[in-house]
Symmetry: C2
Subunit: 342 residues, 2 copies
DNA sequence: TTGTAGGCGTTATCAA
DNA sequence: TTGATAACGCCTACAA
């Protein structure tokens, strides 16, 4: 008896009641007797009833779907964030649709529209590196669709954000290197793009100042912060014959690139040069030496983003004041920065 | 003028035509004049019309949504597969919903039901390690809902599958080690669970036989194949004082664990022991030495899975014969297995 | 080529 | 506590 799917009408017919009653029974509506409720639930099971969320969504004007846009899903950090969102969302009977922008603004807009067409109830976004237009997000706000930005955010759109304290992360990393006795600390960063790097840089500067270490601008290298960029910057660094005893890279990928070049050139890590990355990508514990880095607690970030989303949803009718949730990062100390020996 | 969302009725009203005409214009129905079509498209743009896919889905009985279930999203391999699926799906105006089973059967069933409630048009699944029941998938088949299994599959459910030739992968890896002069090749595997490991093991055996290398069962170590398992197995291996000159680990994670223990014990890789992993996880190019491994072309696998899905969808009315798509793996040779020196 | 009418499955409103 | 009715936005026979 596969036949067709059972609907609330089928249940109603069997029980000689109406669909509205069935609907109420199924939705824990208080205006229903225990007896009929029990009967309905039993019949629902018998008929293997599966609610059609689509119909409910159409009627209610909400889909129980949350859209997430990330630059790329293929990155431990982002997939962990997604996982965090799912954990919270699933508990509240929401599902998650994921799309990638591939760091492209047009793609970001297209994918956003696709999500809207799928009638998501709201969108969580980590904006792409090159995104310089935000009209599509402002539109969203005007249309009253909940929007939460996480990790890579902007203040241009007046909505809730979830970030880690990148400033603190940069500070902790730099301070740690200073405590290891480092005085000439190179910094790899990318100040032209998203805020997160600027904040980490600010932490770096502040830690230097607090410890009376003179800032040397020539020790700051800017790039796209991929592995290959870390390699290139380190090669330039070595070729320049500048003195340095540490590198704080605002990206784990660039840090690994640095590690490779240093080793290839016989520079010992951490003995000659201490090294710290940022993000706690899984591979940082696999390198030799393992890489000191800063954990951003991606799962917690996802959870916080989801919670922010639901807060907006709750507050929809009242006026809502956008919140900025700031998570604390943690320095994960591994071998690449431990001068004190084993 | 934010007001409410425009519907086809709004467009119709503006143009003094009916909603059905608008619908036809919007859906490239041939029964429409070029003139009205142009007018409708123009007005749609003016009113910033966004189609309500929900309503269309309800009416048509299909949602343009594909559900994907993976053991964990936080794994380069799986997230790349998802990306591959997205590429194909998005082109055909389908969206993707992702869920994780976390390697748990009950979770797998729950998540499957959630996807069905979201009225996905079909499901792509990589089954969990511990999944030993398949009724929920058989149900799916009976209900005529397209199902495609990928990577971790089973033959218990008569549906299309997409896998790589794990046997060939195991063969290539082992053969490569033999060509490097290795004769005592340890194998890390997990034969109690999913097929993929059995196939890799079969490739290992066959390569040994083809090259007249005697098989020594005591060189096969079984575990859960995580990093820590690789460490444990390698410690046991060293403690046993067996002679060996290579390790072929059916998982990159276990291979990295092996690499760590070997180095900690002063065993040189590749000079003393050559090492090959499996999956081409990104970190395999970051280790020192970089890790020889087998690429499974996850993006291509995702694309193939999506294509299989659409084939089933197309053929829905006719009888459909399940297909097994087998992708060819590729050996990625890096430093960890190159005895011939730099 | 266009219009009419009905319904996809559910829920909200009103009345009983 | 339950029933009747309409509506969410769209698509599709069928009729014109």
């Amino acid at each position: 008896m596969a036949s067709k799917k059972a609907t609330i009408h089928d249940i109603a017919k069997e029980l000689n009641i109406t669909a509205s009653t069935v609907s109420r029974a199924l939705n824990n509506n208080p205006r229903i007797s225990e007896a009929t409720k029990k009967a309905v639930l039993g019949m629902a099971k018998d008929l293997n009833y599966q609610p059609n969320n689509l119909a409910a969504a159409l009627r209610k004007g909400k889909s129980q779907l949350i859209g997430i846009i990330v630059p790329t899903i293929n990155r431990s950090f982002f997939s962990s964030v997604i996982r965090g969102v799912e954990e919270v969302a699933n508990k509240l009977n929401y599902r998650v649709i994921v799309s990638q922008s591939n760091e492209d603004v047009d793609n970001e807009i297209a994918t956003l529209n696709a999500l809207l067409n799928a009638r998501v109830d709201g969108v969580l976004v980590s904006i792409g590196k090159n995104t310089d237009r935000f009209e599509h997000y402002k539109d969203l706000m005007e249309r009253g669709i909940p929007l939460v930005l996480f990790d890579r955010t902007t203040n241009e759109v007046g909505t809730s954000q979830v970030v880690i304290d990148d400033y603190l992360g940069g500070y902790l990393a730099t301070e740690h290197l200073i405590k290891q006795g480092c005085k000439k600390i190179v910094h790899f960063t990318n100040l032209k793009q998203v805020n997160i790097y600027k904040e980490r840089y600010r932490g770096y500067l502040e830690a230097l100042r607090d410890n009376d270490i003179p800032f040397d601008e020539s020790l700051v290298y800017q790039s796209d912060m991929q592995l290959v960029d870390g390699r290139n910057c380190t090669e330039q660094l070595l070729a320049s014959h500048k003195k340095f005893d540490a590198i704080f890279s605002a990206s784990d990928y660039a840090a690994v690139g640095a590690l490779q070049i240093l080793k290839e050139n016989g520079v010992k890590v951490p003995e000659d040069v201490a090294l710290v990355g940022f993000s706690n990508e899984p591979f940082t514990s696999f390198t030799d030496p393992s890489l000191t880095t800063v954990s951003q607690f991606p799962i917690e970030m996802g959870q916080a983003a989801a919670e922010s989303f639901f807060e907006i949803l709750e507050a929809k009718k009242k006026k809502f004041i956008p919140q900025k949730t700031v998570l604390q990062p943690e320095l994960i100390i591994r071998d690449s920065s431990l001068k004190s020996g084993k």
